[in-house]
Structure formats: structure tokens, C-alpha cells
Amino acid sequence: MKKKAALSAIFFLCALLTTLCFAASPMTSHQQQSSYELMSAENKAMQDDISLNPAMFWVGDGESLWQAKGSPNTKSCASCHGDVKKSMRGVATQFPKVIKGKLQTLEGQINQCREVRQEAPKLAYESKDLLALTALIALQSKGMPISVKETPTNKKDLKQGQEFFNQRMGQLNLSCAQCHEERAGLRLGGSLIPQGHPNAYPIYRLEWQTLGSVQRRLRNCMSGVRAQQFEYGSSEMAQLELYLMWRARGMPMESPGVRP
């Protein structure tokens, strides 16, 4: 009799857990899917195997930059942050993030540190050095879930980002959502349309033959629909990036990823 009661209690708990899991699932219409799942076995292997992933060269460069001082008087990243493996663990999962009232992307925060703490000039977007530092920091979050949440401080930016995501733009008059939300999993030309989650940036894109930031990828889509591209490092970019990261919350980071 007791055994039976215990069993039914377990059944009840299981049922409760499943309901809770469904309720907590971030996307109600479909399951989140990394575009990693759409890649060929060769490209998957290239991302997973560090001896094949070309992005590891940037990580190596990033490690030297982390220790480098601009001049004898200034500090290196390591002077304040110490061991990158400890201090930067999980950091990339939280960006973009509101810091001192300003929405800051990971790249923006690196440049902020350079200007204020290191008294060094800002690094240009898509420059080798900025990509190297971003890749090094993002690598420390590999496998960790994206943890961007809605907070009272980022609420406004998140809402604006969502509006950009749903706003039609360009001569083709398409929004991000029309492809990456409504038609994800269908085909555009010969390729499957991914859900567009920024969980592997910076990525080594084979088409680019180099590493690139999420903003480069977003500008890519904007030029594809023949829209005026958001500027690198602009607040619009940061807001859109924030919404995308929030939309991908809970997904494990793959940085630095490889994409075709």
C-alpha cells in the first residue's frame, strides 16, 4: 500500500515537472535551434575540433593582447582582470548589458576599458585586435547558457530591439522576423533559413574567409534586404543585439563558432 502511494507521488512529481518545463520553455511556437544543427558534418567538425577551427588563431592573438601593455605606464587587461580563464568566465553570456546607464555590447565594453583604463585608442570594429579580444573572452563562456534577462534597466532597450526585429526595412521590405521567426526551417534558395540566434559569435564564416562580429552579420542581412545598414557600434545595433540575445536565452554558447 505504502509502495503504491510512493509510486503515485513520483508520477505526480514527474507530471508536475513536465508541465513546469513546458511553461518555462522560452519559445512557445518552436524549439530553439542553433544553426550549428543545419551545418554539414565537416563544418561541425571544424567548429568542434580546436585543431581545425581557424578562429583559434584569433584566440591565440587575443591571449597575447590580454597580457600586452600599450606603453610601460599603462595597464594590460591582465593587470586588472588577471587570469582570463577565471575572470571572464561566463561574461559573454550577459552582454549586451546596461553599464552606467548605457547599453554596452561586449565589443563596446572592451573599447570602453581601453579608453578609460588603458588610455589607448578605441579598436575599430572588425579589426583583428578587437575580434581577437572578443573571441578570447567569448571562448571563456563556451557551453554556458546565454543569461540575458529582462531587467528594469534594460527594458526600454529590449523593447526597442524587439521593434527593430519586427520592423520591415529596405527595398525588399522584409523584417528579421519574417525570415528568422516565421520562415525559420524553410528554404531561401537552396539553404535552410536559420532561427538567427547569436550564440556562436564571433564566428569564423567560410564565406568571409575570416572572423566576424554579430554586427557584421546583421549588416549583411540588412544589405541583403537593401536597407540602410545600422552603423557599427551604434545604439540601434546594441538594442537589436540585446533582443537577439534575450531571444536566445538559455542556449549554450558555441563561441568561437564556424559557419558556412
Binding site: P54, F57, G60, D61
Partner: protein
Amino acid sequence: MSKTSRTSVTMPAQAKKGAIIEIRAIAQHDMESGFRYTEGGKIIPRDIIRVFTCSYNNAEIFKADFYPGIGANPLIIFTTIATESGMLEFKWVGDDGYEASNQARITVT
């Protein structure tokens, strides 16, 4: 002033005599084809790796010529037979004085 870059070699550190071993060698290089133009219409000069060689205890066992059609950060995967313990040396030579090298030790039992 000669240029160089990061390279990485992956191969087993130990092997049985006569076994086939796989070697992966990748070099960081833009492989600028020489066919592209800047936004201003000026041609970007060719800057590629020309030759890759691998020697096993000073005997050349693998060589590849590279051409402008090869993409950035070229990866070469090839095999050889583990004949004796010793050193494998890898060398990349290219345009504009580019030179990079790497080495790996193998113990054959």
C-alpha cells in the same frame, strides 16, 4: 623584413612502427588572391603562401604548392607512415618574405 604568423600542427605523439599517422597542419594567412580591388579601384597585390613542406628526420616526405584559389588559413591534412622516432618539421613559405615553421616530435615503438 620577413613576415610570419601562427601555425598549428596536430599529430599523434606516439605510434607503432609501420602505422599510418594523420597529420594536420594549419597556418594563419589571409591568402590575398591578387585578383581583388579596393573600394578605390586599386588592385590588391597578391600575398599568398607558395609552398608547404614537411620533412621527417630531415627527409622531405610531403610538399604542396599553393595557388591564389586556396582560401584563407589553409589547412592541409595528409598521412605518412611512422618509420622511426624523431622530429617532423613543417615549413610554409610565401610572398612578401613570408616564412613560418613548426615542429613536432614522434616516438615510434
